[in-house]
Symmetry: C2
Subunit: 475 residues, 2 copies
């Protein structure tokens, strides 16, 4: 509305104090839950003060309650859930660590869980159900009303990490020949709508998806207009079996807020929403970071044994490449015996190459992941990296050459390490960009194996150049 | 609607073929634009075949057009933009590399650009404007209608990386005393609504924000209900000066699709939408990954000089820590001179420690970034990491001990390297978790400096343990 309209207003509404938000109430500056809030909560739990809990806990957003649950200890958590009873918001369980979720769920009778899950959106219910053991899962499902049970079973039947597992099975679907007016009236009367939605779907009599309409489109269209006149035709369809990362890419490409999920016969089975996609994007970035460091799909709540297992493979690969470097060094043992300074300085050459290579590799792996790097610009980027490697090599060859010449009072040694440094920094740049590109070309994830191979290249070339030149020029 | 309703439908709509989507039309399996499509496009450009372009290019989604623009060469791009004329979708410029965006914009007269920007949502217009040089920016702004100009100027006045710079200044705002019916009628009649929206805002006569209503809420509410009865009160307010990362965290915590942006006086100035937040999340993850590798805020399109500058600092720090390791080695030069096998094997101890330390550190840094790690569970996680380090240390001490004993026919050497390996792997685990925690405690970004310091610790301890034990036990 325009500023003119405002002047006609009669009621002067009170400005909402910015500090009135619940958010600022429970969080300290650093984003953790405030200590005095936790102290009051602890006292309220100890005193079984349900009135305080009702005033301060029940009104929290599910993610705030999740943070609170993570900030108190096990006996407090148990007592809190018990004291809240039916007022405990089960959606908060989707916001906590797996360990805490299982602890809370295990402490409740299956009957209570079934009742609570019935109130949740299906994607939240599936999120909580999927971690339970088979027996509990079946017992809880059996206690749910028929429609709910069928919906959850269907979602649980899709493999983990698919769109079908993440989707919500509540949605609004109307036939194409309905008018905007009919559709609005239908939504006003139907009590059984999803918790919130930004789009409705258009289906044919066999439940096949024929289009979708964003809510703003409905609101700005005259009542008598038919839905089929304003609906968008389905673009890239998201199938229930589709990997969640692929679905996330479609969301990002088309800036979607929600999208229909269809089965093999193009029948509408659910809706995927952007908040799930945001979680997927986080998981994906996490995966990239962890793979670059040679850590598997590790969670903070993993056991010692699981953690050892996730890391031992890459350490083993690293042991092999380190022994390869040792073999290179052993070729020059006679040279080292004559000049121990070489043993003192050789880790410098290797370490600088390793670091420079890791820098280039990280940029390359990320550019490949975000599709910024492709065959159209690869040539240009390779040339740029080589130039950068050369320039950095020259800068550091001057530095280390001077240091070495002075330290060991041996200008020849300075010259050798300076030359080896240029060679290794150039090799590092080329390995850092070519190895990920090669892995990508052959369909491997460039993140998973690059680090260890790049360091292998820079170690081997670094030791070989430094010790080789020394054996020719110095000894 | 229920399955019963479906049976009454009379029209049998055709099922949309899944392959009819535009998406599958232009993309190959690997996500790049199909070669035959690019060939046809090249031919159409050469033949000035505007009919083909109209059929195949104008209907593309802005992100698809962006991908196409990135896949053709500079002369083709220029010709394509010229041939499309007014039908060129400027929103596609928000989907391409900065270099390509500038190339296209520089090839167009400012008058044309002003005209095109006037059609875009303000956040897209700002995105394109902010990279132009001051002079062009002012000339283009001067050619825009007054309201547009004021809006864009205001957004451009907020610093980069703030919510104000990212926000869209088109939104729907109504007074609290309007009814749902009035609001719907207003949206039907107003031509000047934003491109798409999922929420409307409620403001008082001074434009202060008093609440918001999601569109689905409006659609399911009776016409005579007043907006103030169904509005949500503002939770954590997002101010225009707020850093975009902070705003993104609020979106994630409360699963928002859009949120009001207010100025210092709590007056509504714009709206931030989830698609911008998704971009922020990507940038943030990117930043973490790059900092872990010691690369600055680097873009693929950066020049050689900018790239050298972004990397040289950490290489310099690494040179200093590498020289520190050299100093440790030089303490034992007499020992090495007597037994060159030590020089051959010492990089193995350091490299294994460095890798194990990086693994722990990466998990720690990510857990801190996602707030999974805090004072409540730090003790438990430190104990777990130490145990994992010890177990991995024992596994690899047996392996490397055996290899060394056999290789150099020296069981004593095997014993020394085995002991050093356990010591260093334990040190690596402790450094990997304690250094990031310490940096975080003192308000530094744990990602930025951890890698180099963790490797410093593992190098120094590795060399010291291995060479120190050797000098005591072997020589």
């Amino acid at each position: 509305m325009s500023e003119e309209d405002n002047r006609e207003w009669e009621t002067e509404t009170e400005a909402p104090a910015a500090e009135a938000g619940v958010h600022s109430d429970i969080y300290a500056e650093d984003g953790s839950v405030r200590h005095d809030f936790l102290a009051s909560l602890g006292a309220a739990i100890a005193d079984r003060d349900t009135l305080w809990l009702h005033d301060h806990i029940v009104s929290l957003h599910e993610s705030e309650l999740g943070d609170v649950l993570e900030s108190i200890n096990t006996p407090q958590r148990r007592a809190l859930v018990r004291l809240l009873g039916d007022q405990f918001d089960f959606a908060a369980l989707t916001e906590v660590d797996e360990a805490i979720r299982l602890e809370i769920v295990d402490g409740l009778p299956n009957e209570k869980i079934a009742e609570a899950l019935g109130e949740l959106d299906s994607d939240d219910a599936v999120y909580i159900l999927e971690d339970l053991d088979e027996e509990d899962q079946q017992e809880i499902l059996a206690r749910l009303p028929f429609t709910e049970r069928v919906r959850l079973r269907r979602a649980l039947d899709y493999p983990e990490d698919t769109a079908g597992r993440r989707m919500q099975t509540e949605f609004v679907a109307v036939p194409p020949f309905w008018t905007v007016g009919q559709t609005i009236d239908y939504m006003r009367d139907d009590e059984d709508l999803p918790g919130s939605f930004s789009q409705i779907f258009v289906i044919d009599p066999t439940f096949k998806l024929v289009g979708s309409v964003n809510l703003d489109r409905i609101l700005r269209t005259k009542r008598q207009t038919k839905i089929e006149e304003i609906m968008d035709e389905p673009r890239s369809p998201i199938t229930a079996e589709m990997d969640q990362e692929e679905a996330a890419q479609i969301f990002e490409q088309y800036d979607l807020l929600s999208a229909a999920v269809v089965d093999d016969n193009n029948r509408l089975v659910g809706v995927l929403t952007i908040d799930d996609v945001v979680d997927v994007i986080h998981e994906e970035a996490d995966e990239d970071i962890k793979r670059l460091a040679g850590v598997g799909d590790e969670e903070l709540s993993d056991s010692v044994i699981a953690t050892v297992r996730s890391r031992v493979v890459w350490l083993l690969v690293n042991l092999c490449t380190a022994l390869l470097s040792s073999t290179v060094i052993s070729l020059f043992d006679a040279t080292i015996a004559q000049m121990v300074a070489l043993a003192v300085l050789m880790p410098v050459v290797a370490s600088m190459g390793g670091n420079a290579g890791t820098q280039t590799m990280t940029v390359t792996v990320r550019a490949l992941a975000t599709r910024d790097l492709d065959i159209y610009n690869a040539g240009r980027i390779i040339r740029r990296e080589a130039t950068v490697g050369l320039i950095n090599g020259l800068i550091f060859s001057v530095l280390i050459g001077t240091v070495a010449a002075i330290w060991f009072a041996n200008p020849g040694l300075g010259g050798v390490i300076a030359t080896a440094m240029v060679v290794n920094m150039l090799a590092a740049a080329l390995a850092g960009i070519l190895l990920p590109l090669l892995l990508d070309k052959f369909g491997a994830d460039p993140a998973i194996a690059s680090a260890v191979f790049v360091t292998m290249v820079t170690d081997v070339i670094g030791f070989f150049a430094f010790l080789g030149l020394a054996s020719m020029w110095l000894v």
